[in-house]
Symmetry: C2
Subunit: 431 residues, 2 copies
């Protein structure tokens, strides 16, 4: 029997380029695709399941462009510290003790939080990636995964490059196509130019995209200028990275020329406003990047620097930061802000079939319960979502046509077990 | 029979000056006060009600120092607009149509949101204040209320001053002492110096404190310098306002000398980070104000400029903004940030018996449910609250010894009725 879900009578925010909103509408899902969508679907084919949209608002599942999911293990473990102390005294020593078992359960906690909070696709870079991928398959989420590559010495460089290549090939297009892969050179300052050239050469037969941290801090910018007489972005252009498909996280410290390069080369940019503020990295020039038609989307970064994985907070912060910093309340409107987590997120990944509700797109959608005091009155649902909502307002989550969250309860993951395992791992890892 | 509530086996964050945290502890409430608190209360007197603290974290009820509660009626009605267009084209015309009935229900919606979100005390300035006060009494919340005074012409000036005085006297110490009052001269730019002097003179027999908007925008600063050759803060000092007890909202645009005046005069400061960002007003110098031992607390401002009334967001934003803007992740630590909404909030109001859990304080406390993915692992509850929690995580709310919210359900307010009435009013008011 064909698997069909009918969402009936919800307010629908399509996030398509026309900005179509249906005050009351239906969505028919067939297998893993949206079969039809509109004000009312007449005589729909028999549905396996009908979901009432009364009092609810449907929108595309959110896309989290940058995460290190397993770092939920280090949530609230290293706050209010200088960046180097955060990294060297807390995070690196704890990470050195990580096992695949820890990573499986830390990732599962992140998946539980993301799914319940309306994130249907996320991008990850970490280690023990087989365990990350397995957790993703088990949860039903859509994921773009990369194994970190670090070239600070040749032993580590060779090992991580080999691991990254093997992982990218082994897991690409698994989990019914929900899992795809990238290669993850960590950052320009951990992957020097010669090493990066080697990475590019050894992977030239693969059409796997790259995920990299880029221009995150003032220090990174200054060191790059000192060591290479080039900004991090210009250095990546010179090395040839941008001839491949790239998703770059952060891009806080970029010059006018850097922004032109990022735009011209169609580099996906994962903006992480919460993490950038919390680590004191700065405020990325998102308004200018959007003016230059750069491919900007939104991410949370890992829970060690955010500390939650609530994309609604990032949507809101992205707008508030630009308005407040530039002293202009008209910047980054509700449509712009929500598009970063939906339509523009898929643009940054260079896939067209998620992040928007339309016929033929992947059936990744969420329903938000608007019968909450902070979401009333409800006549402007887009503004309510951007300026008032949180992940707790998500009622229903469908990924690839599968119902994963129903009335706020995750159907695929065992909450109690996850809390138990994570608590046990955290106790061992945190010194 | 004596009314006693025992909270048993919760993690307790006292927010006292010693920063005492009990990993597992009890709180015994008798009538409207905390009778005892500690790791374990032996043989407590018989309790009317026992609340299990298992998996929960207790902390003082949050104090929202600045609101216009009824403006929930204008939530998501005027976003992404220049300040003057926001005010003159949207807010003022809609406010002109407000009735006491609208204000009662708009305020009730705000009270429902605040109570469910862990706010136990709030400060308000608005009109139709009898209706605001009645809604507060009906809900059980603790409130500090002021009737706005606007002196842009003598008719309005006389009318609002009279209204404010009458309101302050009529409602002070009502609702079992939960309602207290202030006088609300709106702002220096709507209350010129001569009018303010008249206000001070006509109220010199009252010991009622003042609530005023102060130094919110760059324009206010520039106009004040142009018209009076003084900053707004220096002007208020000259006029004599600061010889009275004052709570000043915003204080974004202040000079070094202004900060010294605010500190020396022990002026309460309501910092509203979300509203200041959203309206493009700027970033208040909170770190410096705290260094100068100024009395800073935290507010949401009204829902037309925030747009929710979630104090956890303001706590988090207050810290993130300072870290991000100054490029220093060590600024405004978790204890500092949470103190703004608790202990320091009561300091700004110059009352000592709320905002902290200790024997003899008012029994205003909340319990947060930590069995949520974004609050795990839970070994650092203070950091989880500041960097991960939201109003949706509040399970139990007690104000003045009365249980007002239980398992997330408000016991004193009728949600359905509020949504219905607010939706009806909003439809009429929004043009």
């Amino acid at each position: 029997m064909t698997h069909r879900i009918l969402v009936k009578g919800a307010t629908i925010i399509t996030m398509n380029a026309n900005r179509d909103v249906f005050e009351t509408g239906d969505v028919l899902i067939e297998e893993n695709l949206i079969k039809s969508i509109g004000p009312e679907i007449e005589n729909p084919q028999e549905a396996t399941k009908v979901i009432s949209g009364k009092g609810k608002v449907a929108l595309p599942g959110l896309i989290n462009l940058h995460n290190h999911a397993a770092m939920t293990l280090f949530r609230s473990y290293a706050d209010d510290l200088p960046l180097m102390e955060w990294l060297e005294k807390r995070i690196l020593p704890a990470e050195a003790k990580l096992t695949g078992h820890d990573v499986y359960w830390g990732t599962s906690l992140a998946l539980l939080e993301m799914l319940k909070g309306g994130t249907t696709t996320f991008v990850d870079m970490y280690y023990h990636m087989d365990d990350v991928a397995q957790a993703c398959v088990d949860s039903g989420i859509r994921a773009v995964l990369s194994h970190g590559i670090v070239g600070i010495n040749s032993i580590l460089g060779n090992k991580t490059l080999k691991g990254a290549k093997e992982f990218a090939q082994k897991w690409h297009n698994t989990g019914n196509g929900r899992i795809t892969t990238m290669l993850g050179p960590h950052a320009p300052y951990t992957c020097p130019p010669d090493f990066l050239r080697k990475v590019l050469k050894e992977t030239e037969h693969m059409d796997t995209p790259f995920h990299i941290h880029l221009a995150e801090t003032r220090n990174e910018m200054n060191d790059s200028l000192k060591n290479y007489q080039k900004t991090p972005v210009a250095l990546m252009e010179e090395v040839g990275l941008f001839e491949r498909q790239v998703l770059a996280a952060h891009c806080v410290h970029v010059t006018e020329e850097d922004m032109d390069i990022l735009s011209k080369r169609k580099i996906g940019i994962a903006h992480n406003p919460g993490s950038n503020l919390k680590l004191g990295s700065g405020i990325a020039p998102i308004v200018k990047l959007l003016e230059k038609e750069a491919l900007v989307g939104l991410g949370t970064d890992g829970a060690a620097s955010n500390n939650n994985l609530d994309m609604f907070e990032e949507i809101r912060l992205s707008s508030l930061m630009q308005k407040g910093y530039h002293g202009d309340p008209t910047l980054l409107s509700v449509e712009d802000a929500l598009s970063l987590a939906t339509r523009r997120g898929s643009g940054a990944l260079q896939v067209g079939d998620i992040g928007v509700l339309r016929e033929g797109a992947k059936a990744d959608l969420i329903l938000m319960d608007f019968e909450k005091p902070h979401l009333q009155p409800s006549d402007n649902p887009l503004a309510n979502i951007v300026y008032s909502a949180s992940s707790n307002d998500v009622d229903t989550v469908i990924v690839d046509g599968n119902l994963l969250v129903e009335h706020g309860r995750c159907l695929t993951l065992d909450e109690e077990k996850i809390y138990f395992e994570v608590s046990k791992s955290a106790k061992r890892l945190r010194v």
